[in-house]
Structure formats: structure tokens, C-alpha cells
């Protein structure tokens, strides 16, 4: 990833030494996540902005009616677009997919699409000819580590927030009702996957990691860009509130002990629970506010008559 960003040896040494003492450069403890700020769009459905530390991204969900794939006539379409533009950080190049970018998009794909977080069969309108196609566009606005975690949270929040316009089917004809005409319908979400990335640092020599039995490897949650560039290994666990692991991906890097994996996955569960509840509360509040506004509008309409 960091093609043009080099961290001086001096600085690297500093970060590593500090981690050994359990200190991170931004003052967090090792297993403390930054608090994401989620802002929902007050008027659009399915537009969400996530601020996770300095990492910032916007997710927009859109829907259209298309023909389904021939081999799956009863299923709607769902695509996630995860192109990272140089806007996020100068070391992402346009149109050039580095390994890291592919890994990020594959992970999000696996976490959300392959795990059937969105019920595709509920998107079917007329079998074989017309289905809803849902598209999630992730715009990475700023990058300071944790792209996967924040993108996954963003897409899941946006999917829960989004409402597609209501339709009525009349034989082969479909009428799409505008938002004013009829209440739009929410998507059917089967579960809410949450990605938690852990980064590993090896405090000692490689020999100690391979042959020693100290198990001193340091694992930290939600690392910043600097830590991401220096880390020796990473592990992404996707889990939902129902204690279901959705995917685990440790693509190489520093070997870790099996007991540590168990430990980290239960920790991931706690974080997932916390984030799911937070999103739920936020959506509930948003719903109430919209309801209030709508009522007000209706009242106003009556008054003006």
C-alpha cells in the first residue's frame, strides 16, 4: 500500500518501543478502538458518512430495477463498489489495483455479500424478468487506517437506513410510487456483520516467535495509518451479534498462537455487539425524527388548505 510513504527508522523504532510498553502514539491503550462517528443523511435514504478517527468515508445506496441473472431468476442483484481513489490518500493510485486494494474489496465482499447480509430473494419483483438491483458505492474520503472496519460498518448502516420506493405489480407492468406517494420500504437485512481488524507486532526476534513459548506478540485493535505501515501481520474477523463468525482472514504475516485467536475472536464479538447496538439506536433516533418531520409536514399541508 504505502508505496511512497516511508517511515524513518528512527520513528519506526519509537513506535515499536512504545508498543512494547503498551503505549500507542495517539494515547490509546492497545485494545482500545477509536469511536466511530456515524452521520445519517437527514433527507436522503441510504446515505451515510462514517468518521473513524481521521478515516472518513461516505456510503451511498441506490436501487434500480433490472433483469436478474439467468441462473438465479428469484434473486435480486447486489453490488458493492469499493474503488479507492487517490482522494483518500496519495498512495492509492487511480485505476491501478494493488494487492491491498483487492484484499480490501474481497474482504468487504465476503463479509457482506457472500454472507447474505442482504436478503436477495426479497428483492425479486417478477421472477426471471424484474428484480431490484441494489448498489452500494463506498467513497473513501480520507485514510488513516481501518478501511475495512469502517467500510463494512458504513455499508451495513447504509443498508439498514436505505428505503427503496414502494411498487405495485400489475401483471407485467410495474408502477414505482414516488416517496411522497407511498411510504418507501426498508430492505430486509438478515444479519449485521461487523469487521474487526487486529494488527500484530512482534516485540522480539522472529526466532522467538517461531520457536519460543513466550507468546509475547502484541495485538492492537483499529490501527492508524502509521501503525498499519509498520505492522508485522494482520487479522480480520467478521462476526455478528448472533455469535456467528462470518469470515476470518489472516493473510500471512506474523504467526500467532491458536489461543490468541480464540481470545481475539471473543473480543471481536464484544465490539460487534457494541457497534450493532450503537447503529440500531442511531437508526431508531433517525426514524423518530423523520416521523416527526413527516407529521409536521402533513400538519402544515392541512393548515395551508
Amino acid at each position: 500500500m504505502g508505496k511512497d510513504i516511508d517511515i524513518s527508522t528512527n520513528q519506526e523504532h519509537f513506535v515499536r518501543e512504545a508498543l512494547k510498553l503498551g503505549i500507542r502514539t495517539d494515547g490509546r491503550s492497545l485494545l482500545e478502538s477509536r469511536k466511530p462517528i456515524i452521520s445519517l443523511s437527514p433527507d436522503l435514504y441510504g446515505f451515510v458518512e462514517i468518521e473513524w478517527g481521521l478515516t472518513k468515508l461516505a456510503v451511498r445506496i441506490s436501487a434500480e430495477i433490472l433483469q436478474p441473472y439467468e441462473d438465479r431468476p428469484f434473486e435480486g442483484l447486489f453490488t458493492i463498489n469499493t474503488e479507492i481513489s487517490p482522494m483518500a490518500s496519495p498512495h492509492f493510485e487511480n485505476g491501478k489495483n494493488t494487492d491491498d486494494e483487492v484484499l480490501i474489496s474481497r474482504l468487504i465482499e465476503k463479509a457482506i455479500r457472500r454472507s447474505n447480509a442482504l436478503d436477495l430473494e426479497s428483492l425479486c419483483i417478477v421472477a426471471g424478468s424484474k428484480v431490484w438491483s441494489i448498489r452500494a458505492d463506498i467513497h473513501f474520503l480520507n485514510f488513516d487506517g481501518g478501511l475495512i472496519d469502517s467500510a463494512c460498518l458504513g455499508v451495513m448502516t447504509a443498508l439498514q437506513h436505505f428505503k427503496k420506493p414502494d411498487i405495485s405489480v400489475n401483471g407485467e407492468d410495474i408502477i414505482i410510487h414516488s416517496l411522497d406517494e407511498r411510504q418507501p420500504v426498508a430492505l430486509s437485512i438478515l444479519h449485521v456483520p461487523i469487521c474487526v481488524s487486529f494488527s500484530f507486532f512482534n516485540p522480539g526476534a522472529v526466532e522467538e516467535n517461531i520457536k519460543g513459548d513466550l507468546n509475547e506478540e502484541i495485538s492492537i485493535i483499529d490501527c492508524t495509518q502509521q501503525e498499519e505501515l509498520l505492522r508485522d501481520g494482520t487479522l480480520v474477523i467478521t462476526i455478528n451479534k448472533n455469535r456467528e463468525l462470518i469470515q476470518i482472514s489472516k493473510s500471512g504475516g506474523l504467526p500467532i498462537d491458536a489461543t490468541m485467536l480464540m481470545d481475539l475472536s471473543s473480543r471481536a464479538l464484544l465490539i460487534a455487539e457494541e457497534l450493532t447496538d450503537m447503529v440500531k439506536d442511531l437508526l431508531k433516533k433517525d426514524e423518530q425524527e423523520r416521523y416527526k418531520k413527516l407529521n409536521l409536514k402533513m400538519l402544515q399541508a392541512e393548515n395551508s388548505r
Partner: protein, 241 residues
């Protein structure tokens, strides 16, 4: 189709903790590569050829501190029953490649070979589940055959979960119908170099699947070690003639 019968037998007649036939050879292509291997894990067949460490073709490939490991994976069109053209830059393959490169960057002593590149060419001849595991094992053997210094074996195996029973070393039929966890173990330790779970699995079952996976990985390591020793002793006896 019953994947796991009440009597405890799987679709191909194995028990839950039984590996498929594991065969491996090293030094299969002594003239065309520095190190080579061939593995058969059930019906999955992989050839691995290692070139290097050698002078990189491009300047940009050379790193003054350590060797660069480059893995290229070719999956034969005839490797599955369905013949289809595979693109070299398919996302799944890029992910596989990146995963393998990162795994072996840690277990190979790259620091010993500055400014060089280690080129690993993988040819998948037949696929029947456990693709990542098979490739990982083939690369481990190939690197050992090339005389490249490694901290330890990386042995890999897949394990799945059927209802509540963990099953070891899945074939394609099983892989399609249950969640599969592929793990890569370092030597005889419980250190995991590689982990890949792509489908849902209850958190509470993870431990039992991991346990059988690690045990299976150790067994694979022993089988590979046996082959390395057999080949090594044969070679040694020739040198001494």
C-alpha cells in the same frame, strides 16, 4: 446426498478425523528449476517450481534488505469438471497470491538474501477442495528443495463444520456445502501463519475445528518431512558413492 452419515462416515467413506491420501514428491523438475515439488491431496494436484534466489529482472523488484517472494498461480482450465477460462488477474487469484506471498515472507529467512527475488510458479492441475492448503504445502516443499532457508515447515489443511461435528480435509462436495476453515500451521507448534474462513461458523465451534485443523496440519508436516528425509538420504547416499 448425505455428507456425514449417522454411523460417522463421510461421503467418500472417511471418518471425521481422516485425511485424504496425501502424496508428495520433491525435486520433480531438477533441470528446469532450483526447487520443485508435486503434491496430491486427495484429487487436488499441484506442481510447484521455485527459481532463485536470483537477480531480479526489474530494478523495482529488488529490495536492499531482503528477498522478494513472487508467486504466480496458474490454474489449468481442465482442473475442474467445468472448463472455463480463468483470467490471470481474477480477484480471487490475486487474493490467493497476496495471501501466500505474505505467509512465506514471514517463514522464509528473507533477510539472508538481499537484493534477490524468489520466483514461485504454481500450476494447479486438478482441484478437489483444499486448494489454498495444497498450494501452501507445495510451496513449502518447493522452497525446501531449493535449499532456501526457512524457520520451519508451513503445513496447511482445511477443516469444516458439519452441524456440530468438525470434519478434516474437505473435498469439493463437502466444501460447497459447509463452511471451510483453511489454516496454515508453523512446524509442530500451535502458531497459525494463515487463516481463512469464508462462510459462517458459530463462534463456539471454532475451537474444535481449529483443534482438528492443527492436528491435521501436524500430520501433514510429518508426511512432508518423511518425503524430504527420504529424498535427502537418497541424495546423500549418491554423493557418497
Amino acid at each position: 446426498m448425505e455428507l456425514y452419515s449417522p454411523e460417522g462416515l463421510r461421503i467418500d467413506g472417511r471418518r471425521w478425523n481422516e485425511l485424504r491420501k496425501f502424496e508428495c514428491r520433491i525435486n520433480t523438475h531438477p533441470n528446469s528449476s532450483d526447487g520443485s515439488s508435486f503434491i496430491e491431496q486427495g484429487n487436488t494436484k499441484v506442481i510447484c517450481m521455485v527459481q532463485g534466489p536470483m537477480e531480479p529482472v526489474l530494478r523495482s523488484q529488488s529490495n536492499p534488505n531482503q528477498a522478494n517472494i513472487e508467486i504466480s498461480i496458474t490454474i489449468a482450465n481442465f482442473s475442474t469438471t467445468e472448463r472455463k477460462k480463468r483470467l490471470k488477474n481474477e480477484k480471487r487469484l490475486v487474493e490467493l497470491k497476496a495471501t501466500l506471498e505474505r505467509t512465506f515472507e514471514q517463514s522464509v529467512m528473507c533477510k539472508l538474501y538481499p537484493r534477490t527475488v524468489i520466483q514461485v510458479n504454481i500450476h494447479v492441475l486438478a482441484q478437489d477442495g483444499g486448494l489454498l492448503a495444497g498450494i501452501t504445502n507445495a510451496i513449502t516443499l518447493g522452497l525446501i528443495d531449493a535449499g532456501i532457508a526457512m524457520y520451519d515447515y508451513v503445513s496447511s489443511i482445511s477443516a469444516g463444520l458439519y452441524d456440530t461435528t468438525p470434519l478434516l480435509d474437505l473435498n469439493t462436495l463437502e466444501e460447497n456445502d459447509m463452511s471451510t476453515l483453511t489454516i496454515g500451521v508453523i512446524g509442530k507448534s500451535e502458531k497459525l501463519a494463515l487463516l481463512l474462513l469464508e462462510d459462517k461458523m458459530p463462534l463456539d465451534r471454532l475451537e474444535s475445528v481449529l483443534a482438528i485443523g492443527i492436528a491435521g496440519g501436524h500430520r501433514i508436516r510429518d508426511l512432508m518431512d518423511e518425503e524430504v528425509r527420504r529424498h535427502g538420504n537418497l541424495r546423500l547416499s549418491k554423493v557418497n558413492v
